[in-house]
Amino acid sequence: MQDILARIAAQAGGWVELRFQGRSTQQIAVRNGELEESSSKRIQGIGVRALVDGVFGFASTTDLRESSIVETVKAAQSAARTSAAAKKHRIPGLASASMAVGTFPVKTSDPLDDHPLEEKLELVLRIDERIRKASSSVVSSSTSYAEIQDEKIIVTSDGARAHLFVAIPEFRVMAVAQKDGNQCFGMKANGVHGGWRDLFAAMSPEDMADYAVRTAVEQLTAPLPQGGLATVVLDPGLVGVLSHEAIGHTVEADIVLGGAITAEKMNEKVASELVTMIDSGASEHAPHATGTLAVDDEGVATRKTTLIENGVLRSYLHNRETAAHFDVEPTGNARAFEYSDAPIIRMRNTYIEPGDTPVEDLIAGVEDGYYMCGLGFGGQADSNAEFMFGVREAHRIHNGKLGEVVRGATISGNAFDVLSSVDAVGNDFQWDLGAGTCGKSQYAKVDAGGPHLRCKATIGGRQ
């Protein structure tokens, strides 16, 4: 297939990018002991992007015969030519990049295909039962397993020849506890780029279930937090969510050009000097981050991109078009979810670098504040970095000691203000957004994480 695509690319006339993608997915969902869904999906096709007269055109096909792929290239070129007449700003050119050549397999010792459907189904049913039996307060349970396996071949007329494999399993649990008409939720979701054993390396499915039940039940009798600005210790999960949702999107170069708050801040101080934020195609500090990607969908070898270095904004996230616009090297952030999607700028693994403070010291340094863990229900962030997230689990901190649980907590503010208030960064590290799917006109599997850190943010609570 790669040879056919290379031949077609060479003969296309002008710049073209051809991406074959074969995808197999599996989904098992159980709720209250009943199977909601057991399904599989197998899709494949070729997406073609052509650059003609400074304009991109895109076309896709599921017909893999050479003649059909050639027709698809012509359709993409024709779409580009058609809009070229009316487009105001032509793309002057694509930034040169280190185009990937080679085969990039999934790194795991325990491939998903070695585990039969029956084993996965049995696990989901068993964990769902465990949730319901764990506490008499639990009124509802839900457990699911999903996996995506991709094979991609990416060829461009300027040298990319990449054969890439991706495997992403994920496991989710949710418990609903009820008392006196009051309902509380507990949940946990993990996902990795890797194999079956890797999925449960950080936490066993039993521990995930027990965590969901414990946090749901604890919240039943917990008070609401007091609203207002507070000193908070954020866990790696919330550090990841803040990095991805509230900062990461504002440094995607297409969003920057659309008028994000970061447009005027390059090389300016935007955070505490303790903060260094990265977006990387590799899985630094801990293995198997979900957004791990050796090659992006433009065929560019991915890089470790330092977004914020010791508090100073250093880079945006680029595809080849925006890299040329800003006169920098592409960062390998062009991604497409399916063969029928054109690549757009997306994050991969986004995180804050660990510091040197032990986690217990972070908490010990708080006289009156909160310890907040993980993304709960709800949340939103804007291109001006204003955010509000529901929190999965929250505790009070009194005199440097973890205190009572509070329920329904939210955290909000301007992400740059929050990062500017950071006064200590933990020496630990964890990925926590591995089961996350980011939406931006198409989906992307991403990860995010970091160490614990201490900062100031606005706390809210809902009834």
């Binding site: 009943e34 057991s38 304009v55 055109g57 896709s60 024709s78 459907l117 509000m388 809902r462």
Partner: protein, 446 residues
């Protein structure tokens, strides 16, 4: 290109293959779609594209156990059928796993325009240009930050071992505009508007761009608002964001069956002000979601979900209808890529007596919210988020645009505090919605 005949053959072939693997009941849904789309970004044309795909979804039943598999690799359809049967055999048995019995399906006029067959990328580009030009002709401070025009032609076919054998063709043009106004250092909120047409003749992108542009211009110069607890008028876009998901969740028979719906067990008891009547009609003339049959091959029909504040019916598919011994309301939704879910088609809040302007004129103090960016929990009813393109209302008039204003409340409470539903309605994706006035909303100026 796959036509109905070819889809039907593929469905029948898949049924035979699944039965060969040991299925005792089978449903096959085949769907072909051709899409042309043009994106607008930063007030300029972006990538134009053309796509085509045939997707086939197979639900196989073995002794009341069910599995689902789908593919767009038609040459591998037999393997997909084998997968569906394998998944079924491994699944637990559930007595409610049944396929629907056939009910005659009448074709619905106006869903397919033959002229759509010859609609080209160039035609789509011209429509996108018209949106940009509309903004330019209105005010130089306007920018269409985003938008799209998309033309879709589709054929669907469902064949089951219970005797369902239905097919239809459709054409749908959808378009939206996201407008921002910039004046010096002032930047307005982003304003959004959407519309759609099944027929080429019905395409009218100008008013969509103009509506988004008017909202963007209106919010220029917005300043900090005021904090209060009081009446808020939600525009159709905000009604969709805050209320529509909760209606769909609470009135789903599946959620009622799980005990997750507050309304599921209490049909006939008031949950909202008597001014609220909610209707779902999969046959609505011109409706974006109008189709002659649902995801399980049953004819759509009009269903009154809430009448004068009182829930009357839940939305059912074959599974819930059997499990709850109720009428199947043909609310199976989804594509050939998914198992059938339950959901509304063209959901409408029926219009009230007063116009939006009259509703504003009746208010002493309040807030008009054109768009809502935040979250609305369909289970608890809690909602909170940012009011976009919002205006303070003073003494019956729009006083001034405000920014950084949060609204929060609970939908279950709010439905009992509806004090007005407008006579003017707008299309928001598949829904047809009025302006809605609600009392007792917490408004916080940041």
């Amino acid at each position: 290109v796959n036509d109905e005949t070819q889809l039907r053959e593929q469905c029948r072939g898949a049924i035979a293959a699944a039965k060969q693997c040991g299925a005792d009941e089978v449903e096959v849904f085949a769907q072909t779609s051709r899409t042309i789309s043009v994106e607008i970004e930063k007030h300029d044309l972006q990538t134009s594209s053309s796509q085509q795909e045939t997707m086939i979804g197979v639900r196989a039943y073995v002794d009341r156990r069910v599995g689902f598999a789908c593919t767009n690799v038609i040459e591998e359809l037999d393997a997909t059928c084998a997968d569906a049967v394998k998944l079924a055999k491994a699944s637990p048995k559930d007595d409610h796993n049944v396929l629907a019995d056939p009910v005659p399906v009448a074709p619905i006029d106006g869903l397919y325009d033959p002229a759509a067959e010859t609609f080209t990328v160039s035609d789509a580009v011209n429509q996108a240009i018209r949106m940009i030009e509309t903004a330019e002709s209105m005010d130089r401070r306007l920018v269409l930050g985003g938008g799209s025009f998309s033309a879709n032609l589709s054929s669907r076919c469902i064949v089951t071992t219970r005797g369902i054998d239905v097919a239809s063709n459709g054409s749908l043009f959808t378009y939206h505009a996201l407008a921002t106004a910039k004046d010096g250092t002032q930047v307005s909120n982003m304003a959004f508007h959407f519309d759609a047409s099944h027929a080429v003749d019905g395409i009218d992108v100008g008013p969509v761009a103009a509506h988004a542009c008017r909202d963007a211009l209106g919010s220029l110069g917005a300043k900090k608002g005021e904090s209060f607890v009081g009446p808020v008028i939600l525009a159709p876009n905000a009604v969709q964001s805050i209320l529509a998901g909760l209606f769909a969740f609470q009135l789903s028979a599946k959620n009622a069956l799980r005990g997750a719906s507050r309304w599921g067990g209490t049909l006939g008891q008031s949950v909202a002000s008597p001014s609220l009547t909610l209707v779902d009609d999969g046959c609505l003339p011109g409706g974006v979601a109008t189709e002659s049959f649902d995801r399980e091959g049953l004819p759509h029909r009009k269903l009154i979900l809430i009448e004068a504040g009182v829930p009357q019916a839940l939305m059912h598919n074959a599974y819930t209808a059997r499990a709850m011994n109720a009428d199947n309301t043909s609310h199976a939704t989804g594509s050939a890529r998914t198992i059938p879910y339950i959901g509304p088609t063209n959901l409408s809040i029926l219009p009230g007596a007063s116009s939006k302007d009259e509703m504003i004129a009746e208010m002493k103090n309040g807030l008009l919210v054109n768009r809502f960016s935040g979250s609305s929990n369909p289970i608890s009813g809690d909602f909170s988020g940012v009011a976009k393109a919002a205006y303070l209302i003073k003494d019956g008039k729009l006083d001034r645009p405000v920014t950084g204003t949060l609204i929060a409340g609970n939908v279950f409470d709010a439905l009992n505090k509806l004090t007005g539903i407008s006579s003017d309605t707008e299309r928001v994706f598949t829904a047809i919605l009025p302006y809605v006035r609600i009392d007792g909303i917490s408004v916080t100026a940041e």
